[in-house]
């Protein structure tokens, strides 16, 4: 059933899209997906030092005939802005999957400024944005976004709500 294991649904969509390079800066919300990609022979996983590297990397992958996906937390969107000129100027396909912070249940107020600016920032750079709040919609949304970008529509980001992935709290790490 779609949704019960949404990281696996994303993995299935990436496989169906023939994605061969998956670049990421780690995030707790993406941890299982990254593990699945890492364990899959047809996919090369690329750990980045900053998210903007991933935009350039996947442009290079496309030049070489491979499809890619870029995974990041919402704060990483801010690191990508200038590099997204590649997508707009050259219409490189760019499939971005963002795990959100700074919204629904956020307890770290410092995450809120970038989290609240993610959708508008991406749109300003010409990237299409679809926010997903419901687990059942995750896999299909990634697949549809991928179909759009890999057929020439430019860049698309799927934002996975903190409502979906669970808000991060610090309570369980604070000694009693």
């Amino acid at each position: 059933m779609a949704g019960a294991d949404w990281p696996r649904d994303i993995f299935q969509s990436l496989s169906d899209l023939d994605v061969r390079q998956v670049a990421f800066v780690p995030d707790a919300g993406h941890a299982r997906l990254i593990e699945m990609c890492h364990d899959h022979d047809a996919i090369v996983t690329v750990p980045l030092t900053t998210e903007e590297e991933g935009v350039a990397l996947l442009a290079g992958a496309w030049l070489g005939g491979q499809r890619g996906a870029l995974l990041m937390q919402s704060s990483g969107v801010g690191n990508c802005i200038n590099m997204l000129a590649l997508v707009k100027s050259c219409r490189f396909p760019m499939l971005i999957i963002v795990t959100m912070r700074g919204q629904w249940g956020e307890t770290n107020p410092w995450q809120v400024p970038m989290g609240q600016a993610v959708a508008e920032s991406l749109k300003l750079m010409g990237v299409m944005v679809t926010a997903v709040e419901v687990a059942e919609d995750v896999g299909a949304t990634v697949k549809e976004a991928g179909d759009m970008v890999f057929s020439g529509a430019g860049g698309a980001a799927v934002l996975l709500s903190q409502r979906l992935i669970g808000a991060k709290t610090f309570d369980d790490r604070i000694p009693d």
Binding site: P47, E53, G60, L63
Partner: protein, 201 residues
């Protein structure tokens, strides 16, 4: 900073690039924005050259994606010291993947050439080849003269990578030779040459 030092460097960038790209065969080339792109254009246009006109700091990472996608082809990233300084983290990312077919040549004139020849950090104590080695790049070096260039040229074309050379060149304000600048066309031209007509259908 020692802003005078570079003015005595013997190597001239256009000659260096002309040599690096002579008999380039099926070499795939990414150039960083600014003077390295002009140098490559002066050496001759090719569908297998992708010149960046923006995306500063992204040339090496773009080369990595291309090298991973085309493991049988040699990929050269030709960029400048200012562009490389903006993407230093990508050297660690490249070392993590260690593609054998990727080489990076930095034309290091210790200047931001396009903005008025202001000194970069390499005019001071910063050593790009040492950074690349410390990031984990397997073959690295700094080139200062013709003999060093000959050795580096062999490594850049044939050594098991990743390969990184900083090539110290004299700051020069040269006549512009511009590559094509339409991004969609450059991208599609490269893909059609590499992958065939189906790449844009």
């Amino acid at each position: 900073m020692d802003v005078e030092r570079a003015t005595c460097y013997p190597l001239r960038r256009r000659e260096v690039v002309s040599g690096l790209l002579s008999d380039r065969g099926d070499l795939l080339l990414i150039t960083g924005l600014g003077a390295p792109a002009w140098d490559a254009a002066a050496a001759g246009d090719s569908p297998f050259t992708f010149p960046l006109w923006a995306a500063m700091g992204g040339a090496a990472a773009m080369g990595l994606g291309l090298a991973l996608a085309q493991p049988e082809r040699r990929v050269l990233v030709l960029t400048g010291d200012g562009e490389m300084l903006m993407g230093l983290g990508s050297l660690a990312t490249i070392a993590a993947l260690a593609p054998a077919n990727l080489a990076i040549a930095v034309l290091d004139n210790e200047r931001y050439g396009e903005t008025g020849m202001q000194p970069t950090h390499t005019a001071g104590a910063t050593d790009l080849a040492a950074i690349a080695a410390a990031a984990g790049i397997s073959v690295t070096g700094t080139v200062r003269d013709a003999a060093g260039l000959e050795h580096a040229q062999g490594d850049l074309r044939d050594a098991v990578g990743p390969v990184f050379y900083a090539i110290k060149v004299r700051p020069e304000d040269l006549p512009l030779t511009l590559p094509p600048r339409h991004g969609v066309w450059l991208k599609d031209r490269f893909r059609v040459a590499l992958l065939g007509d189906a790449a844009v259908l």
